[in-house]
């Protein structure tokens, strides 16, 4: 097949990184990105982009760990390079604190992040309501910078990007050989996946440049993540809510919860409020599907449903998706050579 035409639907962190992996692994492909939203209007732009994995119940732990390791290693290399500031990738240290001692003291990712260890008594004194904690250093992907950096690198390799709302993957069958579905929460409508549900997250972005460490409550609901220009304060996890409108009562609640972890936030300025819908699922849907109508076939690779773990897993799942795209192309080439016979 001369230059397989691959369409990637979705331009969040998963769509862009998947396109990147395809281009890197199969340079002969012509990759086009189609999305109704681009940065700064994707779900990824709302996320803080912290590399702290969320455990998916439906995926084997060793697989999630590999995805996280791949992602961490990839971003670690960028953070260490001259591109770090443009890519929005930076190291950040901090604490995860628990009011009650967690069931598992060592999460699966504890040996992937840097310097993971239990907090000392002296460190815990800063959090009088919490009895246990973990200190570590991890990476943060600031958005929009990270997405814009990916877009810039993609464009440099010749990848085209179009604003287009794809209503049905089949619509693409005549223009593309393979379609990669990175539509995130959009997959609910796009492919009718009832197992995909939104988990609504509201966050505040504030100006508080003296906050240099992250703080996260182990329940995952309250967190303070310092980014390049702003600190993200969170959050909420409202399952099943599709509302993208900020709720003022929630804003006050988030602010109060974060101030109780970090009192100096009372002096924070210029509060911006954002809402994103985490594309949640028991497990990431990372698999091939062959659509066919009237003898015409369209190979699809699905890569969506990352929930809270989009940033933590993006590169690992992108690599796997690219590998699946390679299988699709090989299958197409195989059948086309059979057709020649």
């Amino acid at each position: 097949m001369a230059a397989p035409k691959v369409a990637v639907v979705g331009a969040g962190v998963v769509g862009l990184s998947t396109a990147m992996c395809i281009v890197e692994t199969y340079p002969s492909c012509s990759v086009t990105i189609l999305s109704d939203q681009f940065s700064p209007n994707t779900t990824s732009d709302v996320a803080a982009g912290m590399l702290i994995p969320h455990t998916h119940p439906g995926t084997p732990i060793h697989v999630q760990k590999q995805w996280f390791k791949d992602t961490f290693a990839y971003l670690f290399a960028i953070s260490n390079s001259a591109e770090a500031s443009e890519a929005g990738i930076h190291l950040v240290s901090g604490w995860q604190v628990f009011k009650n001692t967690p069931k598992e003291e060592l999460p699966f990712w504890s040996d992937v992040v840097l310097g993971f260890r239990p907090m000392s008594k002296a460190e815990l004194q800063k959090f009088p309501q919490h009895r246990f904690g973990q200190a570590f250093t991890t990476l943060k992907c600031d958005c929009p910078p990270y997405l814009l950096w990916l877009e810039k690198r993609l464009k440099a390799t010749g990848v085209q990007m179009y604003t287009r709302k794809v209503a049905d993957l089949w619509d693409l069958h005549s223009e593309y050989n393979v379609v990669v579905n990175c539509a995130g929460i959009g997959a609910h409508q796009l492919v009718g996946d009832e197992k995909l549900f939104p988990v609504r997250g509201q966050v505040l972005r504030v100006h508080a440049p003296w906050v240099k460490n992250f703080i996260r409550d182990g329940d995952g609901l309250t967190y303070i993540y310092p980014g390049i220009h702003r600190v993200t304060l969170g959050g909420t996890r409202t399952e099943g809510s599709w509302s993208l409108s900020p709720d003022p009562g929630t804003t006050k609640d988030i602010f109060d919860r974060c101030c109780s972890l970090e009192p100096s936030l009372r002096g924070a300025e210029d509060v911006q409020v954002k809402v994103g819908l985490r594309p949640s699922r028991q497990c990431v849907r990372l698999q091939r599907e062959l659509l066919s109508q009237g003898g015409v076939k369209l190979p699809v690779v699905h890569n969506y449903g990352h929930g809270s773990g989009g940033f933590s897993m993006h590169r690992g799942t992108a690599k796997e998706a690219a590998r699946l795209v390679g299988e699709c192309i090989a299958a197409l080439e195989g059948s086309s050579s059979r057709a020649k016979l």
Binding site: S79, H90, A122, K126, T137, D142, P209, P263
Partner: protein, 381 residues
């Protein structure tokens, strides 16, 4: 009781505040004044990044280690207070890097979460094979000094922009106790061959993605002569210059080049950082801090000086412990004065006041009976 603090850097202002806080209610006649030729943002303290971190070795100077700890604990207590932001006080974590293993520092149990670096972390810093990670504090003087000034002003401490030429000049004005916080130029008031400038230079850049301090160490070059990167609440400070004996406060282009190249090698992303400011200053270096009383005789009189200078590159780190020690010395001065002057009858005091007022300059006019008695006691000894 007139107290003159000479010097308005972190040492002068914090010592003034500490003494005033502790003794104002005990000595209602306490009048405090600050004299300095330079005020914030033009003091040596203003050029410092503000990181709390002592030198690697205390050279057996346990007293200084105690003062460092007292300062850290004092600042840590203020972290959660509403004043923290105005003080320029916040937590910061970071790295100390070495090319070979070194013994743990005297301050390992003072800071939070001190540990060695893992091999993975060392991959971040090619060329360095050993290191520490810990969480410490930043106290930015461009916020802290104005905050101290505000506290002092509220307490009616007066400020004078003046270069004091001698201790005598202060005593002639009727000052009872001089607190000498003159830093690197203390030798101009009283020669001190142990006090030398430790010249430093820094570049301030916009690099808000840097969230950790990174201090490298080169055993051969000596302290602060190896690159360091310290992110503040606004700009990030790049440094790594320490020139003993160099009084030159001008910016050196050679030093700029050294700092820039070394720091960019350490953190490649800094190449894209915009340079906003440059500064050069003189650390008041001394083998140990001079923190002691001295009784100075002038004519028939004697007056007290409390020296508090020579804090090198760790002034912010040690300031509060020293301020409290200076306050204790002040307390001992008060104690001696009380012992020297048992309670006087009012009549005696008034008579003495009349005698004193003839020989006193306008600035030295006494107010109230208590201060008169103290002046009287000075004459008697």
């Amino acid at each position: 009781m007139r107290v003159a603090v000479i010097g308005a850097g972190v040492i002068g202002l914090s010592t003034a505040l500490c003494i005033h806080e502790q003794y104002h209610s005990l000595v209602p006649s306490l009048e405090m004044e600050v004299y300095a030729d330079r005020y914030t943002p033009y003091t040596t303290s203003d050029g410092a990044a503000g990181l709390w971190q002592p030198y690697l070795s205390d050279h057996g100077n346990l007293q200084e280690t105690v003062w460092n700890k007292e300062t850290f604990d004092y600042l840590l207590r203020h972290l959660g207070s509403p004043a923290a932001k105005e003080m320029g006080l916040f937590l910061i974590s970071g790295y100390n890097l070495f090319t070979q293993p070194v013994p743990d520092p005297s301050w390992k149990n003072i800071v939070l979460g001190f540990r060695n670096l893992t091999p993975e972390e060392l991959e971040l810093f090619p060329g360095y094979s050993y290191g520490w990670f810990n969480t410490a504090l930043m106290l930015e003087c461009r916020s802290y000094l104005p905050w101290l000034t505000k506290r002092l002003t509220q307490r009616r401490v007066k400020f004078f922009q003046k270069k004091v030429e001698s201790f005598q000049e202060m005593f002639a004005r009727g000052v009872d106790v001089v607190i000498n916080c003159t830093g690197v130029r203390a030798g101009e008031l009283q020669p001190d061959s142990e006090l030398q400038p430790g010249r430093g230079q820094i570049i301030k850049v916009v690099a808000p993605w840097v969230k950790h301090f990174i201090i490298t160490h080169d055993v051969e070059s000596g302290v602060y002569n190896s690159p360091y990167v310290i992110p503040g609440s606004g700009l990030t400070v790049l440094g790594g210059i320490y020139q003993h004996g160099n009084w030159n406060e001008e910016i050196s282009t050679q030093d700029h080049k050294t700092i820039w190249e070394n720091c960019c090698r350490l953190l490649p992303a800094l190449q894209k950082a915009k340079i906003v400011e440059e500064w050069s200053g003189l650390r008041p270096a001394r083998p140990r801090v001079r923190l002691e009383r001295e009784t100075i005789h002038h004519g028939h009189l004697q007056a007290e000086v409390i020296h508090n200078y020579g804090h090198g590159g760790f002034g912010i780190t040690i300031h509060w412990g020293c301020a409290m020690a200076a306050a204790r010395l002040f307390g001992s001065i008060l104690q001696e004065k009380k012992q020297a002057s048992p309670p006087q009858s009012r009549l005696n005091c008034v008579l003495t006041a009349n005698v004193l007022s003839i020989s006193r300059t306008p600035e030295g006019q006494s107010k109230g009976n208590e201060s008169v008695c103290l002046y009287f006691s000075r004459y008697r000894s």
